[in-house]
């Protein structure tokens, strides 16, 4: 996809804790969402979903530790999340997995907007794995992972 992306916030104003909290919130959503998607998948897709779910749990724990180290309280997971569309079968479950990964990719790209070089690099590297998973679930790549399109 090569559509031109659009913004939702001014990245110059991003503060490290806010960016990390947004990424953590996205990881919480992914952990929840994979629970839904995994239940509708079978075979190798289900195995992949399980591995991805575990990866998101690990990423969540990493972000929580980073936020605590910065002196803040990590945002908690919600009890439930509204899914972006009805997830009723394997096809929609794969779409959900791709959407979850897109959301996480977007959140990590938000970290790249902070001024701290170490955090920038962390965000840039961290977004690559969900970008690859999103492409795998979707079956195609996009030109600008993490950026919203018009």
């Amino acid at each position: 996809m090569t559509a031109t992306p659009t913004p939702t916030s001014a990245p110059q104003t991003v503060r490290p804790i806010a960016a990390l909290q947004a990424a953590l919130a996205a990881e919480h959503a992914a952990v929840y969402g994979y629970g839904v998607a995994g239940a509708l998948l079978t075979g190798s897709d289900q195995a992949t979903a399980l591995a991805d779910w575990r990866s998101h749990e690990e990423a969540r724990d990493t972000l929580e530790a980073m936020i605590v180290k910065l002196g803040a309280t990590p945002v908690a997971a919600s009890a439930a999340y509204t899914l972006p569309f009805a997830v009723t079968d394997a096809r929609s479950a794969r779409r959900l997995a791709a959407a979850l990964e897109d959301g996480v990719t977007r959140a990590y790209l938000g970290i790249v907007a902070v001024s701290d070089t170490t955090l920038r690099t962390f965000g840039a590297l961290a977004m690559q794995t969900p970008a690859k998973r999103a492409a795998a679930w979707r079956g195609s790549t996009v030109a600008f992972p993490g950026m919203t399109s018009t």
Binding site: T8, S9, A22, L109, V112, A124, A143, P145, G146
Partner: protein, 161 residues
């Protein structure tokens, strides 16, 4: 949600000098952002060249490679759009690396994969000194290149099978 965009990214100032202009001096030096953009443009042009040559040599892979090529062309367009040409300088339009296309499809894909990895690494090296919106563009392009590496790895596995 924090999200980045390339449509409203500020156009970067081409010049780094902040003091008043001296009309007798030469053009002021390029800012770090513009130098980084010039390098990124050249990198994309090099990638596009390799893709086109590979597709010309191995037409059976053209459909798969064409999608990746289109994304590099989108990267190039976006990077070029970020630049206001400074006085006395033009946005690079020359391909600086023209490796020979290997003699087998598998080796050609491996060369593309290496080129993508190298380009992604170079994008990440530009992050630290770049303005935030530009850093996000570099990070997004690097992530795109990482997805291309995965695609090419799968393509190589398929071509072996």
């Amino acid at each position: 949600m924090l999200a980045a965009s390339t449509t409203t990214l500020p156009v970067f100032l081409a010049l780094s000098a902040c003091a008043g202009p001296n009309p007798l001096a030469g053009p002021p030096p390029l800012s770090a952002d513009v130098r980084g953009l010039f390098d990124a443009v050249t990198e994309e042009q090099n990638l596009i060249w390799i893709y086109k040559r590979t597709m010309a040599s191995y037409s059976a892979m053209a459909p798969a490679l064409g999608a990746l090529l289109a994304e590099h062309q989108a990267h190039l367009t976006q990077l070029r759009a970020m630049i206001v040409e400074p006085p006395g300088k033009t946005v690079p339009s020359t391909v600086t690396r023209k490796p020979a296309v290997p003699g087998s499809a598998a080796a050609a894909v491996a060369q593309l994969r290496t080129a993508e990895q190298s380009a992604g690494t170079a994008q990440l090296r530009r992050l630290g000194r770049a303005a935030a919106p530009l850093a996000q563009l570099y990070a997004s392009i690097a992530a795109s290149e990482a997805t291309h590496v995965s695609t090419l790895t799968a393509l190589a596995a398929g071509s072996r099978g």
